[in-house]
């Protein structure tokens, strides 16, 4: 009894199976939480500052280095922002190819998270390699899916990490129809494997934890969003991308090297696969909707532990979409359009695997950057992750310390946080009092 009345802490000095360096600190007394801090100690790298004076054409390659897991997201938000600043209209086939490029990144990144980073929590292993001792076929399937995502990226961009093809106005080089067709057989296998993945992960046990979130994602009437659409929320927000900064503000908190983003006057919000799925369900292809229905995923999904199922549904979507694009693709007249550089301001938001990624740049008449602002998905989810823990900890407070800690880590991993992105800034410590 006296145990329960004492202050206790859960501390995770190094959050594992996330990208980048973070820690978690939770303090509670009995089952009442008194403090939650998601500490991002990944050293700041200050991209917005050193982009000053760099040329717009260099920027897609520079911002890719914010994140080795989702470099394409950074390249895509950057090229679209500059294209808006300079009023560049891209070829429709180039637009399609950019969707394919993004499919590759979503498949690679989601397969990594579902199989290597998140599934071990549900099956009770410290990592996928130890999980492979008992579930070798599952891990091998995950690795093969990941490899197929990477094949799309390296075929289009020369390598999996930091591909070199993305350019303002289009691509440095585009693939031929027959190049792309070499991906078809693999993608057909990947589509089937993704459907099997939905079934597999939907069978995991999920804690009973539902919350009333405000989901935020891009939404486009004709397609599941990658590079285009309005920014919408589950609580009525519906704005053009250039209005983003009027509605979302970044705050700097002491315990984090990442800026935390909140929705003006409303507080934390939720970006990523669950937000996209809840806000764009009708735009999913039949095969993905059916897979979601068959495994009992009902709208809106508001249990973040089920994000692994949503990620698997998005794998189905990305494989299906990639196959469509490959079937319809014809080499565009030119890989990129020429443009004249002039002074201007442009912003863009695209859907990184982890959620909305906003960029804004101001350039001078030579095309040199005067100002850059980059808001990655993990900065936007950071406050929501802390909020989840405030509500989740009472459920696990009576568990032995190591189990409670593991559950809290899992709650963080629901978001597939990318700390390297957020610091361009995460730490879990649970303190019980």
């Amino acid at each position: 009894m006296s145990e329960a009345s004492k202050h206790r802490t859960i501390k995770v000095n190094t959050l594992t199976r996330v990208e980048g360096e973070g820690a978690l600190f939770i303090q509670f007394k009995g089952d009442r939480v008194s403090d939650v801090k998601l500490n991002i100690f990944e050293p700041p790298r200050m991209f917005e500052a050193f982009l000053h004076g760099r040329h717009l054409t260099e920027t897609p390659d520079i911002v890719a280095r914010i994140c080795g897991i989702c470099p394409i997201a950074y390249q895509m938000s950057a090229v679209h922002a500059f294209e808006r600043a300079l009023n560049i209209k891209i070829d429709p086939m180039v637009r399609m190819l950019r969707r394919l490029f993004y499919c590759g990144e979503w498949i690679e990144s989601h397969a990594l998270h579902v199989f290597m980073l998140h599934a071990p929590d549900f099956l009770g292993y410290p990592d996928a390699i130890q999980m492979a001792r008992d579930h070798r076929a599952v891990v091998e399937q995950g690795l093969r899916l990941k490899k197929i995502g990477n094949r799309i990226v390296s075929l289009m961009g020369g390598r999996e990490i930091h591909p070199v093809c993305a350019a303002v106005g289009g691509f440095y080089k585009v693939p031929s129809e027959s190049d792309l067709r070499t991906l078809s057989e693999d993608l057909k296998w990947a589509l089937d494997a993704s459907l099997a993945t939905v079934k597999l992960v939907a069978g995991f046990e999920f804690p009973d934890f539902e919350r009333d979130y405000e989901f935020v994602a891009l939404s486009h009437p004709g397609e599941y969003p990658f590079n285009e659409g309005r920014i919408v929320s589950s609580k009525g927000l519906n704005i053009f991308v250039p209005e983003y900064e009027e509605h979302f503000v970044e705050r700097h908190v002491k315990h984090s090297n990442a800026l935390q983003s909140v929705l003006n006057g409303r507080g934390p919000y939720f970006v990523g696969p669950m937000a996209r799925f809840n806000l764009n369900y009708p735009q999913l292809p039949e095969v993905a909707r059916q897979a979601a229905k068959d495994c009992g995923l009902r709208l809106p999904v508001s249990n973040p532990f089920r994000s692994i199922v949503v990620r698997a549904v998005e794998l189905v979507f990305a494989c299906w979409e990639a196959l469509q694009i490959i079937g319809d693709y014809q080499v565009p007249e030119a890989p990129r359009v020429d443009f004249e550089v002039r002074a201007g301001v442009g912003c863009a938001a695209t859907e990184a695997p982890r959620g909305l990624l906003y960029h804004r740049y101001k350039i001078d008449e030579q095309g040199l950057i005067q100002f850059a602002k980059i808001v990655p998905p993990t900065s936007q989810n950071q406050k929501q992750i802390e909020d989840d823990l405030w509500h989740f900890v009472p459920q696990v407070a009576k568990l032995p310390a190591d189990e409670a800690t593991w559950k809290c880590e899992q709650a963080v991993r629901n978001y597939d946080p990318c700390i390297s992105c957020a610091t361009h800034a995460l730490r879990v410590n649970i303190q019980r009092s």
Partner: protein
């Protein structure tokens, strides 16, 4: 002890450490898809927080270090890391040259922090971003932004077999010619850092109709003076040439010197 446990005890222990970086180079290990499980059988991946919750204490046989040193805390941590590793290998442009974040080294870091953070007093950082070898002795530097995963496997294989790794230090022009790509600088007048950049990537950029941007850093004895002169003939301004050298390996001394000469002229 059972024979299985004896084998496990003999497997070399590998650790992966991260400093300021994008995670891309350590991700290269997970990108080994086909070989990852085989690698995990051959070695004991004892410390790799990005991939596993279980963290075995050192000492380790091989430590792979990703990222550059940018904080006081990390400057101390790298000393502890060095003490725990028999062989220490720096992987990637951040660990071998300071990375893209070394662009701060030419600026007032406080202005940089104010530009990004509303409450600069909460940010602790060093004035410069520096490679691992400026802090501790390093057994091998594997270049690249990102590293080439096959070079990483070659390197691990060589250390495990006790032989010298086969990682060429010549220019990327050699694999570019071998690949049969027409020289973009000669034929298309596109500035290309290839002649001064180390091989390793597979000469990707010229095959995409663009110049090399130097992500594998300076080759062995690069002639940057001649390349700067050739860039000028193509009509590049000194500011443009300086920016070309100031990429992901900006703080590698050969590129640093070349860019500073352009800034001065």
């Amino acid at each position: 002890m059972s024979s299985k446990r004896a084998a496990a005890a003999k497997r070399p222990k590998i650790a992966v450490f991260k400093f300021a970086s994008c995670d891309g180079c350590q991700l290269s290990l997970l990108e080994l898809e086909d070989d990852l499980l085989a690698l995990a059988d051959a070695v004991d991946i004892a410390y790799f927080p990005e991939a596993s919750r279980s963290m075995t204490k050192g000492p380790y046989d091989i430590g792979l270090v990703e990222g550059s040193i940018t904080t006081h805390h990390d400057a101390e941590r790298i000393q502890q890391v060095r003490r725990q590793c028999r062989k220490l290998i720096a992987i990637g442009a951040c660990a071998t040259a300071g990375g893209i974040q070394a662009l701060r080294n030419w600026h007032d870091v406080n202005q940089f922090i104010s530009a990004v953070y509303a409450s600069p007093e909460h940010i602790q950082t060093l004035k410069s971003s520096t490679p691992i070898a400026e802090h501790v002795p390093v057994d091998f530097e594997l270049r690249g932004c990102p590293v080439n995963k096959y070079q990483l496997v070659e390197l691990l294989g060589a250390y495990l077999a006790g032989r010298k790794p086969s990682i060429p230090t010549y220019s990327v022009c050699i694999p570019c010619k071998r690949r049969g790509t027409v020289c973009v600088m000669v034929a298309k007048k596109i500035p290309c850092l290839g002649p001064v950049t180390q091989a390793g990537c597979g000469a990707i950029c010229p095959s995409f109709n663009r110049g090399c941007y130097g992500c594998y850093g300076p080759m062995e004895s690069p002639n940057t003076g001649a390349l700067t002169a050739a860039f000028r003939i193509l009509g590049e301004s000194d500011r443009q040439i300086s920016r070309a050298y100031r990429g992901f390996n900006a703080w590698a001394w050969q590129f640093r010197k070349a860019s500073e000469e352009c800034e001065r002229s």
